[in-house]
C-alpha cells in the first residue's frame, strides 16, 4: 500500500492559463496534474497523488476564506497522509496561497504538509509554521525542486525523525537541531574565515537573533511606601532544593516564603545553580538573595515592606524562552499581591 497525497497547484501549472485565468475557482481533480507527475516518479510507488486541487492565484487572494473552506472540506474528506503544495518558485501570490493553505490543513486537520518555494517568496514568511523546501526562483528549477520535495515528503509520511534544516533541505524554521558535520568545527571556521577574507560567499551556522529589548519602567516614586519583592536567577532555594530545580537548563521556578525571616543562613538556604562556584552562596545565601539588607531597609523605613514570597530559578544554561515563561507567570502573582517593584539578582 502506498501513502496517499493531495497536491495543490495554481491555474498556470494546471495548464489552464496564465494571469488571464488567475480568477478560476478551486476545483478538485482525480490523480496527478502537471508537476504532480514528477512527485509520483520520485516516489516510485511508495506514495502517490490521489487528487489535485487547482485554484487560480487571484481567486485565492481575493476569496481566501471561501477558497480555504472549500479546499479544507475536500482534503478532510480525502484524508491523505500528506498535503503538498507547489512548488511556487518566486510567484508571490502562488507562494502565499501554497503556504497559507498548507498551514490551514496542518492546523485545522492535523495532516502533515509540505511546500516549496524561493526563499524570498512572501509565502516563505510562514517557514516557522510549516516546512518549506527552498527552490530556485523560476520554474526552470522544477527538475531539482520536485525530487527534493518528494524526498522530504516521503520522510514525513514515514514518520522519520526530522534532521537539521541543512540535512533534510528545508528552510531554517527556528528549531535548532544537532547533527554531525563532515569536518570538525575548527576546520569549518578556517574555511569560513578564508572565504570572508577573499570576499567569497559563506554561510554562517547561526544567524544572529534579534533581541527582545525591555524598556525600564518609571522609577518608584516613594520607596518608603512600596512593597518590594526579591527574585533571582542565582538558584537560591530552601536547603535540600525541595522542588528539584535543575542545576542547569531549569524547567521550573520556585516560590518560597521568607515571611518573618530576618536573614538567610547556611542551615536554611543554599544554591541549586550549577554555573558558579557555590561555596560562598552556600555559606551565606544573602550574598545572592539579599534578605538581610532588605530587612534592614524595612526597619529603617527606607522601603515599605519586603514581600513575603521570593521567586527563584537557575539561570545557568536555561533557555531564554523558558525564563520568559517563568517570569510572565510569576509577574502576574506579584501584581496580584500588590508588589510595586522587584529586585532581580543574577549571578
Amino acid at each position: 500500500m502506498s501513502y496517499r497525497v493531495v497536491h495543490y497547484i495554481n491555474q498556470f501549472f494546471a495548464n489552464i492559463g496564465g494571469e488571464e485565468m488567475a480568477h478560476v475557482a478551486p476545483e478538485l481533480r482525480e490523480g496527478f496534474v502537471g508537476p504532480g507527475l514528477a512527485f509520483n516518479q520520485s516516489w516510485k510507488g511508495e506514495a502517490e497523488i490521489v487528487a489535485t486541487v487547482v485554484c487560480g492565484d487571484s481567486h485565492f487572494a481575493e476569496h481566501e476564506k471561501e477558497a480555504q473552506e472549500q479546499i479544507l472540506a475536500w482534503v478532510k474528506e480525502l484524508n491523505p497522509d500528506l498535503f503538498i503544495a507547489g512548488p511556487a518558485f518566486n510567484a508571490g501570490r502562488y507562494g502565499y496561497a501554497c503556504a497559507t493553505i498548507a498551514n490551514a490543513v496542518k492546523e485545522q486537520l492535523g495532516i502533515k504538509v509540505l511546500t516549496g518555494m524561493y526563499e524570498e517568496n512572501p509565502g516563505a514568511d510562514l517557514k516557522d509554521k510549516i516546512l518549506i523546501v527552498p527552490t530556485a526562483n523560476s520554474a526552470a528549477g522544477m527538475r531539482k525542486a520536485a525530487p527534493a520535495m518528494a524526498k522530504l515528503a516521503l520522510k514525513l509520511m514515514k514518520g522519520e525523525k526530522l534532521g537539521a534544516s541543512c540535512e533534510d533541505n528545508y528552510m531554517p524554521n527556528g528549531i535548532r537541531v544537532n547533527f554531525f558535520e563532515k569536518e570538525r568545527g575548527s576546520k569549518r571556521a578556517v574555511k569560513m574565515l578564508l572565504n570572508k577574507l577573499a570576499d567569497k560567499p559563506f554561510v554562517t551556522e547561526y544567524p544572529m537573533p534579534s533581541f527582545d529589548r525591555v524598556a525600564p519602567n518609571p522609577a518608584v516614586k516613594d520607596l518608603s511606601k512600596a512593597t518590594i519583592a526579591l527574585c533571582t536567577s542565582g538558584g537560591i532555594v530552601p536547603k535540600g532544593n525541595p522542588d528539584h530545580i535543575e542545576s542547569s537548563s531549569a524547567s521550573h521556578y520556585g516560590e518560597y516564603s521568607i515571611a518573618g525571616v530576618e536573614a538567610l543562613c547556611e542551615a536554611t538556604h543554599e544554591t541549586a545553580h550549577g554555573g558558579y562556584d557555590p561555596v560562598y552562596a552556600n555559606a551565606d545565601a544573602n550574598r545572592v538573595l539579599p534578605v538581610d539588607v532588605m530587612r534592614e531597609f524595612e526597619r529603617e523605613g527606607k522601603i515599605g515592606k519586603l514581600h513575603d514570597l521570593f521567586y527563584t530559578t537557575v539561570g545557568n544554561g536555561t533557555a531564554v524562552a523558558s525564563a520568559k515563561k517563568f517570569a510572565a507567570e510569576y509577574a502576574q502573582k506579584l501584581l496580584q499581591a500588590g508588589v510595586n517593584a522587584v529586585i532581580m539578582t543574577s549571578t
Binding site: A164, S165, C166, E167, P172, G174, I175, R176, V177, N178, F179, F180, E181, K182, E183, R184, G185, S186, K187, R188, A189, V190, M192, L193, L194, K196, L197, F202, T204, E205, Y206, P207, M208, P209, S210, F211, H244, E246, S247, S248, S249, S251, H273, G274, G275, Y276, D277, P278, V279, Y280, G315, N316, G317, T318, A319, V320, A321, S322
Partner: protein, 430 residues
C-alpha cells in the same frame, strides 16, 4: 619559534610492576604514579585517596564525575618542561622538541563541586559525542580528606592530574616517535617578507576566567589576573595553558583541548599556503564589566597593532562569556579585522529558544558546536569508574536523570567535551 612534536602512538595501557612504553603499549605501575603524585604538599594535605583504573575505546565503561583530561608529554630538547610555572619551572616553552604519547590520556575523576563535572562513555551513543572515548584512558579517581575546602581540593586534584601526566609523559623520553611534525611561526617582519601576499591571521583564544573554580592558568598565572596578550601558537601546543575549571562539561576546555587546540592545528595546516598565521592572542572572560571592556578593547587593539586581516575567535563556557565573545567580535570587526567565531548553543531542549545570551549583527560568521540542551539517553554500562551519585545534579542532569537500570537521560551538557567551542568536534546544529 619552531617546535617539533614527536608522536608516540599508544594503542594499549596495561598495569604492570614496571613503567615503560614498548611497541605502542604503556605499561604502568599505579603505585609508582601515585607516589610521584603524592610528592606534592597540596595533594598530600587534601587528597585522601587516588585510585587508578584503565578505560579503553569500545569498552562498556562510564567514567564520571570527570574533572580534567590531560595528554602525557615530555620535553626532550630545548628550554622549559611540561606545564611551565605549574609543574616545570617557568621557562618559555614552544621551541625544541616534545614527545607526545598520542592516543591516550590521564583522566582525573571524583567529585569536586558535584554540579560541574562530566561523563565520558567509552562506547554507545554517548561515546559519539566525546573525543575521549577514542583514547586509552588512565583514570585517577580522587577522594578528598574530610572537611577540605573545595578551592583547596580543586587545586590539589588539578596538580595531581598534571603530575600523573608528567610522570607518564617522562616514559616517552627515550622512545623513538612514530611520526615527527614541526610547527613554526615567524616574527612580524620576517612573516611579511616570507608571505607578502597572504592574509595575516591570528587566533583570539578566550580563556575561561569567571573565577572561583572557573579558572584557566597561563604559565601558572590565573588568567583572570592577566591582560590580553600574545603567545606563539607553539607555546599553547607545549603546555603553557592548563584548565582549572569546574564548568558545564560539554564546553569546558580540558587541558587536553589546550594541548591539542584544533584551531591552532588547522591554522598551521594553512600556514604559508592560504594564510600567514601570525600568533595567538589570549584574552580572558572575567565577570566584571570593567574587565570585559578592558580585555575586549585590548583584543581589538592588538589585532590592529599586528595589522591583522582576520581572526578566529573561540569561546569557553556560555551565558556570561557570550558577552565577552560578542564584545571581542564587535570591537575587532570595528577595527576592520574580519572575524569568524566558534561557540555553542543553549537553544532549549526543544531547540526553539535563542541560542546565545548576547548577539550583534557584526558576528556574521559563526561556527557552532551544537545545542547543549539537546536530550540524550545513555544506556547503562557494565562498569562505572568513579560514581553515579552526582548524575542527577550535574549541569544538564535533572531529578530522575539516573534511572533504575543505570541508564541516564540528560542533556548533552553532561558529556565532557560534547559541544567544544574550539571546534574540536564535528557536532553542529542548524
Amino acid at each position: 619559534m619552531k617546535l617539533e612534536l614527536g608522536f608516540i602512538e599508544i594503542k594499549d595501557i596495561q598495569f604492570s610492576n614496571e613503567c615503560k612504553v614498548e611497541n605502542g603499549t604503556l605499561f604502568v605501575d599505579a603505585e609508582a604514579v601515585k607516589a610521584f603524585v603524592y610528592e606534592d604538599d597540596d595533594v598530600k594535605a587534601y587528597v585522601k585517596s587516588a585510585c587508578f583504573d584503565i578505560a579503553k575505546p569500545g569498552e562498556s565503561v562510564r567514567i564520571t564525575p570527570v574533572k580534567d583530561v590531560i595528554e602525557p608529554r615530555v620535553k626532550v630538547e630545548g628550554p622549559g618542561g611540561q606545564f611551565p610555572g605549574v609543574i616545570a619551572k617557568v621557562d618559555t616553552v614552544g621551541s625544541g622538541r616534545t614527545h607526545v604519547l598520542r592516543g591516550m590520556a590521564i583522566v582525573t575523576a571524583g567529585k569536586i563541586v558535584g554540579f560541574q563535572e562530566g561523563i565520558i562513555d567509552m562506547s554507545g551513543p554517548g561515546a559519539e559525542y566525546t573525543p575521549f572515548s577514542k583514547l586509552n584512558n588512565l583514570v585517577m579517581v580522587c577522594e578528598p580528606v574530610e572537611g577540605v575546602h573545595q578551592h583547596d581540593y580543586e587545586r590539589a586534584v588539578r596538580i595531581a592530574g598534571l603530575r600523573a601526566a608528567t610522570f607518564v609523559g617522562e616514559l616517552g623520553r627515550n622512545v623513538t616517535p612514530d611520526e615527527v611534525q614541526s610547527f613554526e611561526t615567524y616574527g612580524i617582519k620576517e612573516g611579511i617578507e616570507k608571505f607578502p601576499t597572504l592574509p595575516r591571521v591570528a587566533y583570539v583564544h578566550m580563556l575561561q576566567s569567571q573565577g572561583l573554580l572557573h579558572d584557566t592558568y597561563v604559565y601558572g598565572v590565573d588568567a583572570k589576573r592577566t591582560l590580553t596578550t600574545i603567545l606563539y601558537p607553539t607555546e599553547t601546543m607545549d603546555g603553557a595553558i592548563i584548565s582549572g575549571n569546574c564548568v558545564s562539561a560539554c564546553d569546558k576546555n580540558t587541558t587536553y583541548h589546550h594541548q591539542n587546540n584544533p584551531v591552532v592545528a588547522d591554522l598551521f595546516e594553512q600556514h604559508g599556503k592560504t594564510l600567514n598565521y601570525v600568533c595567538n592572542i589570549i584574552t580572558n572572560e572575567n565577570v566584571y564589566l570593567a574587565d570585559k571592556q578592558r580585555s575586549s578593547d585590548w583584543s581589538a587593539k592588538l589585532c590592529r597593532l599586528l595589522d591583522l586581516d582576520g581572526v578566529i575567535v573561540s569561546q569557553e563556557g556560555f551565558g556570561n562569556p557570550d558577552t565577552d565573545l560578542i564584545m571581542n567580535t564587535k570591537k575587532i570587526e570595528q577595527m576592520g579585522v574580519k572575524t569568524t567565531i566558534i561557540t555553542d548553543e543553549y537553544a532549549g531542549q526543544d531547540g526553539k529558544s535563542q541560542s546565545l545570551a548576547d548577539a550583534d549583527p557584526l558576528a556574521d560568521a559563526v561556527v557552532t558546536g551544537g545545542n547543549a540542551n539537546e536530550v540524550i539517553v545513555l544506556p547503562p554500562m557494565e562498569k562505572v569508574i568513579g560514581t553515579l551519585n552526582y548524575v542527577d545534579v550535574i549541569a544538564g542532569g535533572h531529578a530522575g536523570s539516573l534511572r533504575e537500570d543505570g541508564s541516564i537521560e540528560a542533556e548533552l551538557q553532561v558529556i565532557t567535551g560534547a559541544t567544544n567551542e574550539m571546534g574540536f568536534n564535528r557536532l553542529s546544529a542548524r
